[in-house]
């Protein structure tokens, strides 16, 4: 089992998340794409920890998960606040803020 395959899988998942972030306009799906990219990075960290035989990569992935959870809480509450004011979750509507 070569570790390169894990890196290639992580690259594919990261790219899918990035493309989703670029082509979708729903703020919720943009957030899910971000989660996809964070998970791809976590996969790289865990596989690097396995390749090198030390646990530091796993600890880093654990911290990434904690930060992602906090980020989701804040982001979703911002989405709910914007939805209350504008009745929409499309990120294109925020371009009206520039006047």
């Amino acid at each position: 089992m070569t570790p390169d395959l894990y890196l290639v899988l992580a690259a594919i998942l990261f790219t899918i998340g990035l493309v989703g972030f670029l082509i979708r306009r729903n703020a919720l799906i943009l957030f899910m794409s971000t989660e996809l990219m964070l998970n791809a990075a976590n996969l790289v960290l865990v596989s690097a920890s396995w390749v090198h035989g030390v646990l530091d990569g796993q600890v880093a992935a654990f911290f990434v998960m904690v930060v992602a959870a906090a980020e989701v809480v804040i982001g979703l509450s911002i989405i709910v606040t914007i939805f209350r004011a504008r009745r929409s979750t499309s990120v294109d509507n925020e371009s009206l803020l520039k006047g």
């Binding site: 089992m1 070569t2 570790p3 390169d4 894990y6 890196l7 290639v8 899988l9 992580a10 690259a11 594919i12 998942l13 990261f14 790219t15 899918i16 998340g17 990035l18 989703g20 670029l22 082509i23 979708r24 729903n26 919720l28 799906i29 957030f31 899910m32 794409s33 989660e35 996809l36 998970n39 976590n42 996969l43 865990v46 596989s47 920890s49 396995w50 390749v51 090198h52 035989g53 646990l55 530091d56 796993q58 600890v59 654990f62 911290f63 904690v66 992602a68 959870a69 906090a70 989701v72 809480v73 804040i74 979703l76 509450s77 989405i79 709910v80 606040t81 939805f83 209350r84 979750t89």
Partner: protein
């Protein structure tokens, strides 16, 4: 020993290919499905596949954390918010920036080729594995790392989580954009709507209870046999649609037919058979039609009901108005 190593390696390979294919398919589903709820469910599949990959990479702690934190907490949060804001919103799949989708896909393809070529040559040595760490005590080693070497970042994440919780509470409890409507304003709005469009000023009809259905999604039937659309919430209508009267009374009518062994007279629609019971039904229909028509016609032709109702209803004294009058 080599046989055991081969077995472990084979198991890992099988796990990798199953989970990798699942994860990539579900990840494409996340960004390609038109409704956010399907995206969230696809994301759950990605998370669980990644958790299985972590387990095959000897990261049992992260396997559990991935399932508990991501599939348990984060995705439930996503589902809560989707249920609050996203169920009835359909994203228009028309691209607002014209022609930005193709360049985005091309850029994504270039990026995946670049990353795959770059990472394909990074790891040259065989993986060391975590067997020695596992033998010394995996959880103990992890705890030593988190609580000794990385204790400062660990405390920082604690502060981050507290801040996030407080910020979420502050954001979820904003100032009202408009004053809270009290009973008087609601009543005035209803009567104004009645005067303008003839909308019924009373409460909306309750959902229907028939012989076979008593759910909230069952519409009430008007006396003429049609469906009262106001008796079902718009959210349910947008998700499951309105049931038709034939759908509601069909099984009962067929049962009655089977019992009587002939065409049913009592429960047929008024226009079906001109027998005595249906005359009663059609009278009921006329009555209901009169009742239904009375509100709009009086509102349109003679505007008396609205001032009458206002005269009959004396609003409670408005303290602000009294102050203004005193000044």
């Amino acid at each position: 020993m080599t046989g055991l190593l081969l077995l472990v390696s084979t198991g890992q390979t099988v796990a990798f290919w199953i989970c990798a294919v699942l994860a990539v398919i579900a990840a494409v589903g996340v960004i390609a499905s038109s409704r956010p709820i399907y995206s969230a469910l696809c994301l759950a599949v990605v998370m669980v596949s990644l958790a299985a990959l972590y387990a095959s990479l000897q990261a049992e702690f992260l396997f559990a954390v991935q399932i508990i934190v991501y599939t348990g907490a984060v995705l439930m949060l996503f589902l809560f918010v989707i249920m609050m804001v996203g169920v009835t919103t359909h994203e228009t799949l028309v691209e607002t920036l014209r022609g930005h989708r193709v360049p985005a896909l091309v850029a994504g393809g270039c990026l995946v080729v670049l990353l795959a070529l770059a990472t394909g040559n990074v790891v040259t040595s065989d993986p060391a594995g975590l067997d020695t760490v596992q033998e010394e005590g995996y959880i103990q080693a992890l705890a030593q790392l988190i609580f000794q070497r990385y204790v400062i970042p660990f405390e920082a994440t604690a502060a981050l989580l507290i801040t996030a919780a407080v910020a979420a509470m502050v954001l979820a409890h904003p100032k009202r954009l408009a004053p809270k409507p009290d009973q008087t304003t609601r009543l005035r709005e209803r009567l104004a709507a009645y005067a303008a469009t003839g909308a019924h000023p009373g409460p909306a009809p309750a959902s229907g209870v028939t012989a076979r259905h008593n759910s909230m999604a069952t519409p009430a039937l008007l006396p003429d046999g049609t469906v009262a659309e106001a008796s079902v919430t718009p959210t349910l209508v947008s998700r499951v649609g309105l049931r038709t009267p034939e759908e509601l009374t069909g099984p009962m009518q067929s049962a009655v037919k089977a019992l009587e062994g002939g065409p049913s007279v009592i429960l047929s629609t008024p226009s079906a058979s001109p027998s005595a019971p249906s005359v009663i039904l059609s009278e009921a229909k006329d009555l209901s039609a009169d009742q239904d028509d009375s509100a709009p016609t009086t509102a349109v032709e003679t505007p008396e009901p609205e001032p009458d109702l206002d005269a009959g209803y004396t609003p409670p004294p408005d303290p602000d108005a009294e102050k203004g009058g005193a000044k």
